[in-house]
């Protein structure tokens, strides 16, 4: 076998090996999407219950007061951005989309004269900022997929603490969350959401607004709001984390699908080249034999 053929054979083998890895990763991601999506759906009843409860408090008493509802929060000019990226690579454009959206948001906030403060989830986002010599204010990484609710609780605790803090160097005026919304396994959107201050629609402005019953509050409306608001933030953050996880798997699946396809193209290409190299070698051998035979017959010798 010629040297050229050997080179092509080796390239084919390496592409085949890679293809197997990509295929395996694709299938793992595909099986995890469904599980991750089920987790997202499992948080929905709680989120709905909370939203209904808060909505009913808002309709019940006109003058509820909570720092998260105050639209005029401008004490320090610090605006927190919670950015949710992946821990792992091979997720296609997933992390980069989030980082780009967060950077855009940070620039907008800077233009408005605010100071963006980064809170980062995931190794990809953390290393992005560390590499650029502006480490994030707080980073959570690495994280485990099955501990996301606990992580969400921890993050929500830190953020709520900073939002309500009286310390000027810690206090946050606003809180934004940049994550990826999981719509279907084919469609995911990178979204920037303003979490605080929250806008609760004024009663009567939306026609389809469900009629909330007049509730009896125990112990009283203000305590109930003070208790529910951090819970609401927490449940939203957990929900966003879980959606991000599902999106990460979907993105991984897509990236690995195209990587598998590319490996197949490579294999096909190198097989063609190896075949033509083999043919060329055979042709050359035949030419040499025929040439040798011609030379022999031309020499006038009759017996071999």
């Amino acid at each position: 076998m010629g040297a050229q053929q050997r080179v092509f054979k080796q390239k084919i083998r390496s592409a085949q090996g890679m293809k197997k890895i990509f295929k395996a990763k694709e299938m793992v991601a595909a099986s995890r999407i469904a599980k991750a999506h089920a987790r997202v759906l499992a948080t929905t009843p709680y989120a709905e219950a909370l939203t209904r409860a808060i909505g009913s408090v808002a309709t019940h008493s006109e003058e509820i007061n909570h720092p998260f509802l105050d639209s005029e929060r401008s004490r320090t000019g610090r605006a927190g951005i919670l950015m949710i990226t992946a821990d792992r690579g091979m997720t296609g454009p997933y992390s980069h989309n989030v980082i780009r959206a967060a950077e855009q948001l940070a620039n907008t906030l800077r233009d408005e004269g605010k100071e963006p403060v980064m809170y980062v989830v995931g190794r990809k986002g953390e290393s992005y900022y560390r590499f650029r010599n502006r480490p994030p204010h707080r980073a959570w990484t690495p994280y485990k997929e099955n501990e996301l609710p606990d992580l969400g609780r921890e993050i929500a605790g830190v953020l709520t603490g900073d939002l309500l803090s009286d310390d000027q160097s810690v206090h946050l005026d606003e809180l934004y969350v940049v994550g990826t919304q999981f719509k279907t396994r084919f469609v995911q959107d990178t979204k920037s959401i303003r979490m605080v201050p929250m806008g609760i629609a004024a009663p009567g402005t939306i026609e389809s607004r469900p009629a909330f019953p007049l509730y009896e509050f125990a112990p009283d409306a203000d305590t109930v709001v003070a208790e529910l608001m951090p819970r609401y933030v927490q449940s939203r953050i957990i929900n966003i984390l879980l959606q991000a996880m599902a999106s990460e798997h979907a993105s991984t699946q897509r990236a690995m699908k195209s990587a598998t396809d590319n490996a197949e193209t490579q294999i096909r290409k190198f097989t063609r080249l190896a075949n033509s190299a083999r043919q060329a070698e055979i042709t050359q051998e035949i030419t040499e034999i025929v040439g040798g035979a011609d030379a022999l017959s031309g020499s006038g010798r009759t017996e071999r």
């Binding site: 987790r39 499992a42 948080t43 009843p45 709680y46 219950a49 909370l50 209904r52 409860a53 009913s56 408090v57 609710p149 969400g152 609780r153 019953p213 007049l214 509730y215 009896e216 509050f217 125990a218 112990p219 305590t223 109930v224 208790e227 529910l228 819970r231 927490q234 449940s235 957990i238 879980l242």
Partner: protein
């Protein structure tokens, strides 16, 4: 007799849902019993045990730490951070 439609959810899953005759929750200002036809209530929970008693008298007990409960026309929604099931002891009811 009418029954309560109970949904018990934690932040990441639904723990209990179905029909019940009575629910006892640990509100911050004292234990609160919920029976059918109760007025709409929104209460904050403290630390304690949620008892869900179904129509056969079977008791499900869950330990909770903070949360909320909303009651509205016999629909009871309990939302907590985390709940751990306590093995059903001999019912006192």
């Amino acid at each position: 007799m009418s029954a309560l439609d109970v949904t018990f959810v934690t932040a990441d899953r639904t723990v209990w849902s179905g029909q019940a005759a009575q629910v006892v929750v640990p509100a911050v200002d004292g234990s609160m019993g919920i029976l059918p036809q109760m007025q709409p209530t929104l209460a904050i929970l403290g630390t304690g045990t949620v008892r869900i008693i179904d129509q056969d008298g079977h008791v499900d007990q869950l330990a909770v730490d903070g949360g909320f409960v909303s009651v509205d026309s016999d629909v009871v929604t309990i939302g907590v951070d985390d709940a751990t099931s306590i093995e059903a002891q001999d019912s006192r009811f």
